[in-house]
């Protein structure tokens, strides 16, 4: 099977169960959003895929091959981590040189172009880059390696609005030219909502949603009206949450509702991904 397949992944940190039997697959040539609150297990999942940490049990397959301690499987993956993994004394240009060495598909010309576009100084030592440029440096490398699977852990951390914009555009451009699988882990949802085709929501080490973004968006809706009208209408429906302000109530549902069938006095609205996410991952 092509893609990354994860079965029953369990990871403990001491007594804390960071991943509770996570099963999820990332299939070929799609952009995934891995969404979760801080500490939900996003990084643990990505770190397990790339062999940075060892899961306690479960399976990870990359194109059908076991991923753990497997050079061939790992050569298809590149992860842009939140942290810097390059030696302190290394310069940006040397990191580019070595990445090219390790990933034969690396596109040097493209990488240099991107570095210039983003204004990344290649003669700087990596440890001397600002948070934003540290992210930019790792983003540029990741976009240039031409691996099948690109994992982005909080890619836009510390980036200003212009650079974030450039990143999403560069990602989409690259993806349109030569598709790959991208997994973007983030808690800044608004920005990626339109970019991601599939959404995987992780909450306290468990996958609670895994579906097409559009599918989730069509189902999510808000109904507002008088408390009495809302209460009687939502009885028996799957509720995400309720907000009330005096006698006025808004209910958030994850169900397709036919707007022509609504009782009078109830207004229907859609929910964006950010709102859906907040209600889905609320305590």
């Amino acid at each position: 099977m092509k893609g990354i397949e994860i079965r029953n992944l369990v990871k403990f940190y001491g007594d804390v169960q960071a991943l509770k039997s996570v099963s999820v697959s990332f299939s070929e040539n799609k952009i995934y959003g891995l969404l979760g609150r801080n500490g939900a297990g996003k990084t643990t999942l990505l770190n397990s895929i790339t062999g940075r940490i060892f899961p306690d049990s479960g399976k990870i397959l990359i194109d059908g091959e076991p991923a753990i301690e497997n050079d061939n499987a790992q050569s298809k993956v590149f992860m842009m981590g939140e942290k810097n993994f390059y030696p302190d004394g290394m310069k940006v240009k040397d990191a580019i040189k070595w990445t090219e060495e390790f990933y034969p598909g690396f596109d040097r010309g493209y990488c240099i172009d991107l570095a210039e576009k983003f204004g990344l100084n290649q003669n700087k030592k990596i440890k001397n880059l600002s948070t934003g440029y540290g992210s930019i440096f790792r983003l540029i490398l990741t976009l240039s390696v031409n691996a099948h699977f690109l994992l982005f852990d909080e890619p836009v951390l510390g980036l200003d609005a212009n650079h974030r914009d450039m990143f999403y555009r560069s990602l989409l451009e690259k993806y349109s030219e030569q598709p790959f699988t991208a997994v973007i882990s983030t808690h800044l949802i608004e920005e990626v909502a339109a970019v991601i085709e599939e959404v995987v929501i992780i909450k306290k080490g468990e996958i609670i949603r895994n579906q097409a973004t559009e599918d989730l968006l069509t189902k999510g809706c808000s109904l507002s009206g008088s408390a009495a009208a809302i209460d009687s209408f939502i009885a028996g429906k799957t509720l995400l949450g309720v907000d009330s302000l005096g006698g006025f109530k808004t209910a958030y549902l994850l169900e397709e509702i036919d707007p022509t069938n609504l009782p009078s006095g109830i207004e229907m609205g859609k929910m964006d991904l950010q709102k859906l996410f907040i209600y889905l991952t609320n305590e």
Partner: protein
């Protein structure tokens, strides 16, 4: 290019800049000693130059081994290299470094000997010759001694480099309290507790046994046969590689 080759290339490139620095320092020291010796032996007595070069080289490679894990590990993981490949790569790197530097050492020895010979009243000896020289008593030319000395130095310095790698691996796997405990307890018990214990309780038996073991391992008990030392060093190299593997195979990246 296979991944192992890439790792070797990376490790060699990573540490190679330290080598010229090492030789510049060592040669400086040697010249200093040579000059002072030349000035001492005015009264025509025989003086000898002691080959501290090998000892320096062994320490140097031990330190290179110490510095070959932490940053490299992260870099390799970032680039999709498995721990297995990483260790294989380091093993080859250790052999390349020790072989390369042992060869350079051999050249310096030859040059030193030629220089000493030209002075007529000087003796220039490498560490190997000082230890195992008596094994070759009466042999002409010293080709066999050179070759066996080279082999010994390669094995011994490779073992030292692997030992450094093992130590750094051990520290990497330990948590902070364990690191502190080991850093304090090991030196204290080796330098203070053990000698006192040995002196007052076992009557020196521990140290006698230890020296006996060393003497055996390096062939001192068997006519200073260098192959004891060669085999022991090679065995130590393999042992530290195996221990390193046990540590690195489940090493997780730390933030």
């Amino acid at each position: 290019m296979s991944n192992i080759k890439k790792v070797v290339k990376y490790q060699v490139m990573d540490s190679k800049t330290a080598i010229p620095v090492f030789y510049i320092v060592m040669l400086g020291i040697m010249v200093l000693i040579a000059v002072s010796l030349v000035s001492i032996e005015v009264n025509g007595e025989e003086s000898s130059m002691i080959g501290g070069l090998e000892m320096g080289m062994v320490i140097f490679l031990f330190v290179v081994g110490l510095n070959s894990f932490r940053e490299t590990f992260r870099m390799m993981i970032q680039n999709g290299i498995s721990r297995k490949t990483m260790l294989k790569g380091f093993t080859i790197t250790a052999l390349i470094f020790s072989a390369g530097m042992s060869l350079i050492n051999e050249v310096i020895l030859a040059a030193g000997k030629a220089f000493a010979a030209s002075r007529g009243n000087m003796v220039f000896m490498g560490a190997f010759e000082q230890i195992y020289g008596r094994h070759y008593a009466g042999e002409a030319g010293g080709i066999r001694m050179s070759l066996e000395g080279l082999l010994f130095l390669i094995c011994f310095s490779a073992a030292a480099m692997m030992f450094g790698y093992f130590i750094t691996n051990m520290y990497y796997r330990m948590n902070k309290p364990a690191k502190i405990i080991v850093s304090v307890c090991v030196p204290v018990s080796l330098i203070i507790v053990l000698p006192i214990f040995d002196y007052s309780v076992t009557g020196g038996a521990i140290f006698r046994t230890f020296w006996h073991f060393i003497a055996f391992a390096f062939g001192f008990l068997n006519g200073y046969n260098p192959y004891y030392g060669i085999v022991s060093s090679a065995a130590a190299f393999v042992l530290f590689a195996a221990l390193s593997w046990m540590l690195v195979r489940k090493a997780a990246v730390k933030d």
